[in-house]
Amino acid sequence: MFELSTAVELEGNGAVLVARHAPVGMVTLKAGLNRAISAALKQSTGAGVPPKRKIRKGIAWMAPDELLIFTESDPDALIRELDSRITAPALLADVSDARAVFTLKGRGVRDVLAKGAPIDLSPEAFGTDDFRRTRLGQVAVALWIPAPDEARLICLASVGQFVFDWLVNASQKDSLPDYFST
């Protein structure tokens, strides 16, 4: 889903590689995140509701009543399937076109993100299954670091170009403080 070969924009000359992905399948689920919802999710995607502020098997915890489901199959088909399984009041929406998705690769990904996000990005505080909604510069983003030298970030598509340019600028060669990547 996050292969760099399908990137629509890529900058590889900086301290870390910055890539914007082609649209990724994303479904928002707004509901009371109870056991029934978790069971329905498990049947449809193979994974249930993740713990607070975690991403597990492509399902991200956005808020106490909201999840973001990444999918490689047709989002509309997933929505129909979940809709038939969920009986409680819930909202399902295809947000694939509403969000831009980025990958950062390289030793300094934590340093690049820390330039713009007011959160503790040390490996002890932010592990490989942590998922965090915060800001990058002046815009809202969500980010996670699935592997030591790899970060993923999503934001609203309307600020996608801004975020791409921001990331490229923040990852210029010799500009990293090497705080996390020594």
């Binding site: 502020r53 808020a63 007011p118 959160i119 503790d120 965090r132 909604r133 915060t134 800001r135 809202a140």
Partner: protein, 107 residues
Amino acid sequence: MLLLKCPYCGAKAEETEFSGGGEAHLSRQKSGSTDAGFAAYMFERRNPKGVILERWHHAYGCGKWFHAARSAVTLEVFGTYSVQALAPPKDIIAKIRARLPEWEEKK
């Protein structure tokens, strides 16, 4: 810098991830209230040098509103609590009193 913990998503962050919503626990003036009462509800806010109870919005995070009790002088945060609460919970009041024994919650 003010460090807050959102009671809904549990995230700890500094204040720029949130947006402030002003004084908490105002009681809304209903129809039939006096002009002076409504004007006070609309415009008058306490600005104590000491403990303040405020509403905050986790704007860049989970999107929920919550309450915070903090010191306007030292920026010490005594605690954050549910947006539905009409007053600070007992444990937060105890924390405030431990620091400022004189403090009274204004009604």
